[in-house]
């Protein structure tokens, strides 16, 4: 990444030479324009810059043009004309704006400062040091943006513009140097790893960036970056024998010379690193394959299994060997973590599971499915292997499924729920989708085939997904959307009928919603909340723990309590945390569940009794964002026992956030 920064500008020149021509033209036009007409000509330059910066390497290109762009008068009559008065913290708002011109203006100003900081552009108002200082602050302020994938709020507000902001920040970070932001970066990586996502490409990229920074003689990290060692080593050298990252071939040779004790030492070393971080080193795959051949009694150590997992391993030894043989390679090492966690869940004891996995091992892929996998993941390893790795990860980490940068939260939720609750069914759907390119589900007795349906919620085929979701989501999305269409004429919210039909029999047929669908106004708030408490809160439902995960809908708000949109989650359990607070533990298909919903409602992902991948909120905080839930009408709970004061607190929170003007 770092070495590419200086020459990435070429990529735009190669892919879209006409853009550079247009940029030259737009700059010249602005340069020549009389002062009074400059504002008119600026929009043309803005549009051109926007398109360039949305492309990979575009920011580097624009950076090299910044002196000309500024001197042409792009900042005339704005605050940006005086960079010395700019305030870094305002950049966050500008980069989040839905207005393309605000985003582009901010991006241009920062790239201009970058050129100044690099000494390429001598500016009359700011020095290189001032510019550098300013940009470090900008990066720190926007760190979250730099290291997280787009969330629902960003997508709704900004669309493709979000990509521009991301490109800018990545470019700034590469050019300014990660050492200035590395500490915050490390904390952020740990926080996300706590949630054990299946998709780790971003995280691995970040860890790699830190590693590159640490190794580069040109980068002085100072005292920063100490906490990164564990992350880097778990990817590139978890044990003594591969500490210096010797390459997989060398490592394999070393294994051949080891005695039993040394192998055991390796096995526990890898297992510890893996369970610590959720990251799996390619060397781990080498070891595992070696152990299957030579000393399979160490497999359990190498997978870091508890007695539960070991039992399962021993009961299904042949299957596990076959899975390792097919799925575990240095390029698909995450399969190991998936496998270990799947064994720990003991789901292989469900009668259909083992045969279903045998079927998965020899599943032929349709051309379409193969192509999708190839496009996203490349051909190393082969698409079949990549999919199998994905299957193991989904079965091992059902709460690690994420929706990527797509509006398909319902499909992600369903995949996660099936992996968690009905893995046999998930494998069946996957076979239909991957082999036959067709998934048939039934809605109120009528068959719906994904093959014949129009597109779903997502207008384009989603791409940034784990292998299983990549195959399934396009089908699920269409079916889900069709179920919605079939209910469009009905009164009340379509989720009432769609959710139970789509997810499974365990989804409660009772349904409550606190929003009047045609008007969007709040209705029936008191009864809604009372029923939710009586159905889910152990103090009012006869101390009954939640049995099955239940789909629910929340109104997402941002940190300023503004309503952003409706979002699909599932409620997993309700329990007391270690501080005796009653909490709702739930699954959020967003890639990062740790979100700030305003009014001190900070969704927690660790430290409050969460299991990997769970998000949690205190019961009343959760209730204050809930707008749809399902329940069993035959188990109404003790409605009258719910205290009025508690409900009033919740309602207050609703009225001051997403309930404003409803």
């Amino acid at each position: 990444m770092i070495e590419s920064a200086s020459n990435t500008g070429h990529s735009v020149a190669e892919t879209s030479p006409h853009l550079i021509e247009q940029l030259e033209q737009a700059i010249d036009l602005l340069q020549q324009a009389r002062d009074f007409i400059k504002p008119d000509k600026v929009s043309r330059l803005f549009d051109c810059c926007r398109r360039i910066m949305q492309q990979p390497g575009g920011c580097a290109l624009i950076e090299s043009y910044m002196q000309r762009i500024e001197q042409a008068g792009v900042f005339n009559n704005t605050d940006y004309a005086q960079p010395q008065i700019l305030i870094p913290s305002l950049s966050a708002q500008a980069l989040k704006s839905a207005d393309a011109n605000s985003v582009v203006m901010e991006a241009l100003s920062n790239l201009r400062l970058l050129a100044v900081a690099k000494g390429v552009y001598k500016h009359q108002h700011v020095s290189a040091e001032q510019a550098h200082h300013h940009l470090t602050h900008v990066l720190a302020i926007n760190l979250e943006r730099l290291f997280s994938a787009a969330d629902e709020a960003e997508r709704t507000r900004q669309g493709k513009l979000g990509q521009l902001s991301r490109h800018l920040l990545q470019h700034l970070a590469e050019r300014i140097g990660y050492e200035h932001i590395i500490e915050q970066l490390i904390d952020e990586i740990w926080r996300i790893l706590q949630q054990r996502p299946i998709q780790l490409a971003n995280i691995k990229q970040m860890v790699t960036q830190i590693a590159i920074c640490q190794q580069s003689p040109d980068i002085d990290l100072g005292t920063s970056g100490q906490g990164a060692d564990r992350l880097i080593s778990s990817l590139y050298g978890p044990t003594q024998s591969c500490r210096e990252d010797p390459g997989v071939d060398v490592y394999l040779e070393r294994l051949a010379t080891m005695d039993a004790a040394a192998l055991q030492y390796e096995a526990t070393g890898f297992a510890r690193a893996m369970h610590d971080t959720g990251l799996v080193s390619p060397y781990h795959a080498v070891l595992l394959r070696y152990l299957v051949e030579n000393s399979d009694h160490l497999l359990s150590e190498a997978l870091g299994l508890s007695s539960t997992g070991r039992d399962c391993l021993l009961s299904f030894q042949e299957l596990v060997h076959a899975l390792i043989d097919k799925a575990v390679h240095p390029a698909s090492a995450q399969a190991i973590y998936g496998l270990a966690m799947m064994l720990e869940r003991s789901i292989l004891y469900q009668p259909p599971l083992a045969p279903a996995l045998w079927r998965q091992l020899s599943l032929p892929l349709s051309d379409f499915a193969r192509q999708r996998l190839l496009t996203l993941f490349g051909d190393n390893p082969a698409p079949e292997i990549r999919l199998l790795e994905g299957v193991l990860c989904v079965l091992g980490q059902p709460l690690g499924v994420g929706q990527g940068n797509n509006p398909t939260c319902q499909s992600a939720r369903a995949i996660s729920m099936w992996a968690y609750q009905d893995p046999d069914y998930l494998l069946q759907l996957l076979v239909w989708a991957a082999r036959d390119d067709e998934v048939i589900m039934h809605f109120e007795g009528q068959a719906l085939s994904s093959k014949t349906l129009p597109s779903g919620v997502a207008s384009e085929l989603p791409m940034d997904l784990d292998p299983v979701s990549l195959i399934l989501v396009p089908h699920l999305d269409r079916i889900y959307a069709e179920m919605g269409r079939r209910c469009a004429e009905r009164e009340s919210d379509p989720h009432r009928w769609v959710n139970p039909e789509f997810h499974g029999w365990w989804c409660g047929r009772g349904f409550d919603i606190n929003v009047d669908v045609p008007t969007g106004k709040l209705v029936n708030l008191d009864a809604f909340l009372r029923r939710f408490y009586a159905s889910y809160h152990p103090y009012y439902n006869g101390n009954q723990p939640l049995i099955h995960p239940q789909p629910a809908g929340v109104a997402i708000t941002d940190s300023a309590m503004r309503f952003i949109g409706w979002h699909a989650i599932s409620i997993l359990r309700v329990a007391l945390d270690q501080e005796q607070t009653m909490r709702v533990y739930f699954y959020n298909p967003n890639n990062d569940s740790g979100q700030h919903w305003g009014d001190d409602i900070l969704v927690s992902t660790s430290g409050h009794g969460e299991r990997f991948g769970e998000a949690s909120l205190a019961f009343e905080q959760f209730a204050s964002r809930l707008y749809i839930f399902h329940f069993d009408p035959l188990e109404p709970g003790e409605l009258a026992a719910v205290p009025e004061t508690e409900l009033n607190t919740v309602m207050e929170k609703i009225y001051k956030s997403w309930g404003v003007n409803r």
Partner: protein
């Protein structure tokens, strides 16, 4: 600027008054070699002062008793000619120029060019083919006209009607343009829009012409091809339309003769029917809407406003104007087109240019803004697009298909 640096203009050439406020026109004048002054309403005053733009305050309303005042002011200043930039200033230019040039006919001519009904009659008298037209003073007139036109076409009861077009007498281009097919639709016309001009629908290929005229001769003639009326236009036209260039030139010459135009700039619209017959639609004596001037500059590289200044200025020499204009079609570097965006959804939250548009090698830029309101007002008449997309490329057919395809895309989502 001009007032302080008299050396920046050529004293041998005319002194120009621009009637109406157009930044692009001001820029063109500022960059040209003629002395100029902007005549515009009072809201432009601060801006002109701030940027040293020569300016005379005038509020253009209907011609009235005070009309002489502005003509006298300009005459005293030594202005040679007034150039109308908008439909509303066309008769002002006529009135002012008749004083400046001591030629009363110019006022009458401008009145003809301002009233669509009068202009059609005049064209008819000059032997130019026009469709059936009539003035309407109320809804009853419209219904009668619709029925009569369709009877003429030998339609039986129950056959779908041929539509008729309604246009305001004195508004530019598509403003107030409505298409009426059934008597029910007549009810949707607000009473205050009357009187209007009604025209039969001509099934044909509609196009526009921009012609710069000096000493009664055409100096540059551009044909603008409409892909879909009210949505998109490109210049120069495709070879299929350009093959009519000789015929079109003859038509324009007829028009110049009929309207007795010695100098200036005209922007007529025509239909060519499937049998190659030309029908005159209307003519305007001012720059066209839809940024055709900008497109011409993109395609040919000359500034169309400066071309207008040359065509109006009585002191322009034959040599000067011949040198200024490029050769039609052959000198164009490519085809430049633009597309007017209308939101298609009823509720929109933001502007997003579709990737296929943005990534097309012909795409140039856009001047669209973020939506100010989430709810989109229903379209009743033509002419209220939210901004334009600009394209440029070599092939006319690709351009036409590209522009047409934009109609099926959402830019506001």
């Amino acid at each position: 600027m001009s007032s302080e640096t008299p050396s920046s203009y050529n004293p041998e050439k005319g002194y120009i008054a621009l009637l109406g406020w157009s930044l692009n026109a001001v820029e063109a004048a500022e960059d040209f070699d003629r002395r100029y002054v902007v005549v515009a309403p009072d809201w432009a005053e601060d801006y002109c002062k701030q940027h040293d733009i020569p300016y005379i305050k005038w509020n253009f309303e209907r011609l009235n008793d005070r009309s002489m005042e502005i003509a006298q002011t300009l005459k005293e200043q030594g202005v040679d000619v007034a150039i109308p930039l908008f439909e509303e200033t066309v008769e002002w230019a006529g009135a002012i120029n008749s004083v400046l040039m001591d030629n009363p006919r110019l006022l009458g001519q401008s009145m003809l060019l301002r009233d669509k009904a009068l202009m059609k009659r005049r064209a008819q008298l000059g032997g130019i083919r026009v469709g059936i037209f009539e003035e309407a003073h109320d809804k009853g007139d419209v219904i009668r006209f619709l029925k009569r036109v369709n009877q003429t076409l030998l339609k039986l009861d129950g056959d779908p009607n041929d539509p008729i077009h309604l246009k305001a007498f004195d508004k530019a281009g598509c403003l107030g343009h409505r298409v009426i097919r059934t008597p029910d639709e007549v009810d949707t016309i607000p009473d205050e829009e009357f009187p209007v001009l009604m025209e039969s629908h001509l099934d044909g290929w509609e196009f526009a012409v921009e012609a710069w005229i000096h000493n009664g001769k055409i100096r540059f003639l551009n044909i603008s091809e409409y892909v879909t009326l009210g949505y998109s236009v490109f210049v120069p036209a495709s070879p299929e339309l350009e093959k009519y260039r000789d015929q079109i030139t003859q038509q324009i010459e007829k028009l110049i003769k009929t309207f007795d135009i010695e100098f200036g700039f005209i922007h007529p619209e025509y239909f060519v029917t499937s049998d190659g017959e030309m029908y005159f639609g209307e003519v305007a004596y001012r720059p066209p809407g839809f940024k055709v001037f900008e497109l011409l500059e993109r395609a040919y590289g000359f500034n169309a406003y400066q071309g207008m200044i040359l065509a109006f200025d009585p002191k322009t020499t034959e040599q000067e104007i011949t040198d200024f204009f490029p050769r039609e079609v052959v000198d164009a570097k490519g085809h430049a087109g633009c597309f007017g965006v209308y939101p298609r959804l009823r509720v929109v939250s933001r502007l997003e240019i579709p990737e296929e548009t943005e990534n097309h090698p012909y795409y140039d830029f856009h001047d669209l803004n973020q939506p100010l309101e989430a709810t989109v007002t229903k379209r009743t008449a033509f002419g209220t697009h939210w901004g334009l997309l600009y394209f440029f490329g070599d092939d006319a057919l690709t351009m036409r298909d590209l522009l047409e395809h934009q109609e099926s895309l959402d830019f506001y989502i």
